[in-house]
């Protein structure tokens, strides 16, 4: 039976709040971020293909701290 379980982790220090990191019942970690556009891919010479997002630095700090 697939469990529809989801945990949202929110990390907040005195200055920053990192929202959101989702732990899902099917063992994924889903990050909330902003999709990278084709123009940004070209400008930053990012590899083609695959979905890409940019996330706030606070999210990365939170992942290191929380997971």
């Amino acid at each position: 039976m697939a469990l529809k379980f989801r945990v949202e982790l929110v990390w907040q220090d005195e200055k920053d709040t990192a929202s959101s990191i989702y732990l899902t019942g099917d063992a994924r970690v889903v990050l909330q971020g902003k999709a990278i556009t084709d123009a940004e891919r070209a400008q930053l010479s990012l590899p083609a293909g695959g979905a890409m997002i940019s996330v706030d630095r606070a999210v990365i700090r939170a992942i290191k701290e929380m997971l």
Binding site: M1, W11, A62, E65, M66
Partner: protein, 350 residues
């Protein structure tokens, strides 16, 4: 691992009387009593002569505690004031005194640096003596490390399994959307169930005729204060935005005090805002939760037995552990800070 510079619940206020009462707290023996005017006193529960617990003794004139073995007497500051059969009192004949405060019908003790004992830092458990709430508290002795209780209270999913026949059901796990918020001082685990039928117990208590918005909010403050805010209001009336009208609220209030590394004084209580002055309702609500808590206590002792058998046995973490893991990390950091500060103070003193 014990955090010392915090307030801990030592006993129910009514447990402390003119009869000395002994209890181990953070690995230290402590004797409690009240002076003739009701002031609570806490002293080291170990006669410095032959180490008999002073709690086996009795109070004699002027609130002086007399050891049961050879009659040495100690005043409320812990100083020895009489040694039978001799005039001279050895200069180091004294026991440690602890700061204690009566609040929220519990007796709180400070086990750390006395200079840092600030009663303003006692966490809020006002529901126990708020006339707008009905409440009852209790004490359980848990045969486990105090952090196992923290883990349990910060995890909503065990309700479906440990409390299958009492307060849990599978819906709590299958459709759980849990938010774990790590704040600078603690952890908050939140779960909202919006526009769903009320569970039967809530219908009975709250008289709901339609769907409700339900919440379960667990607040952890280190080292081991855990307060659960649960309730329901008719759906769409604004509870998620903070307007709680026409519904019911309860608080499950917990404060764990380490006795030893493997045993815990578990103080808890249940408060409700419906029919607050009806003792029968208070008792019914309390007993329902107590049944569930006894199920938890059985789990704790079984866990601790296996931990003691092989402390290094591998352990995995799952999503549901997120709140407990954050609480453990905060406690580990605070412990490291306390130890570093102790070392720095010792170095400065040399």
């Amino acid at each position: 691992m014990f955090l010392r510079n915090y307030w801990y619940v030592a006993a129910s206020g009514s447990d402390i009387t003119r009869k000395p009462f002994g209890r181990i707290i953070l690995g230290e023996p402590v004797v409690f009593y009240r002076t003739a005017d009701g002031t609570p006193i806490a002293l080291e529960d170990r006669c410095p002569h032959r180490r008999l617990p002073l709690s086996m003794g009795k109070l004699v004139s002027d609130d002086v505690l007399q050891c049961h073995y050879h009659g040495l007497r100690f005043d409320r500051t812990g100083a020895c004031v009489r040694v039978p059969g001799q005039d001279m009192i050895p200069s180091d004949a004294r026991v440690k005194r602890y700061t204690v405060v009566d609040r929220y019908k519990w007796l709180w003790i400070w086990m750390g640096d006395p200079a840092k004992a600030d009663p303003a830092k006692i966490p809020d458990y006002h529901w126990f003596d708020d006339p707008n709430w009905g409440a009852q508290s209790d004490y359980l002795h848990a045969e486990c490390n105090w952090q196992l209780v923290n883990d349990n209270l910060l995890d909503l999913t065990h309700l479906a399994f440990v409390h299958e026949t009492t307060i849990g059901n599978m819906a709590l796990v299958e459709h759980a959307a849990v938010r774990v918020q790590r704040t600078p001082t603690g952890v908050q685990v939140t779960r909202w169930i919006i526009d769903q039928p009320a569970p039967p117990a809530f219908v009975k208590i709250g008289g709901f005729t339609g769907n409700v918005d339900r919440w379960q909010i667990i607040d952890f403050q280190p080292p081991s204060y855990i307060r659960l805010d649960v309730g329901a209001t008719p759906t769409g009336t604004g509870a998620p935005e903070g307007r709680r009208v026409g519904g019911i609220q309860m608080r499950n209030l917990n404060a764990m005090t380490p006795e030893t590394e493997t045993t815990t004084h578990y103080f808890w209580g249940q408060a409700h805002d419906f029919q607050p002055r009806n003792p029968e309702v208070t008792e019914r609500v309390f007993q329902q939760i107590k049944t569930a808590f006894l199920e938890d206590v059985a789990v704790f002792s079984a866990q601790q037995k296996l931990i003691d058998l092989d402390p290094d046995a591998p352990q995995i973490d799952i999503n549901a552990d997120s709140g407990g893991i954050q609480a453990r990390r905060i406690n580990a950091r605070l412990y490291a800070e306390e130890q570093a500060s102790k070392t720095a103070a010792a170095t400065a003193a040399e």
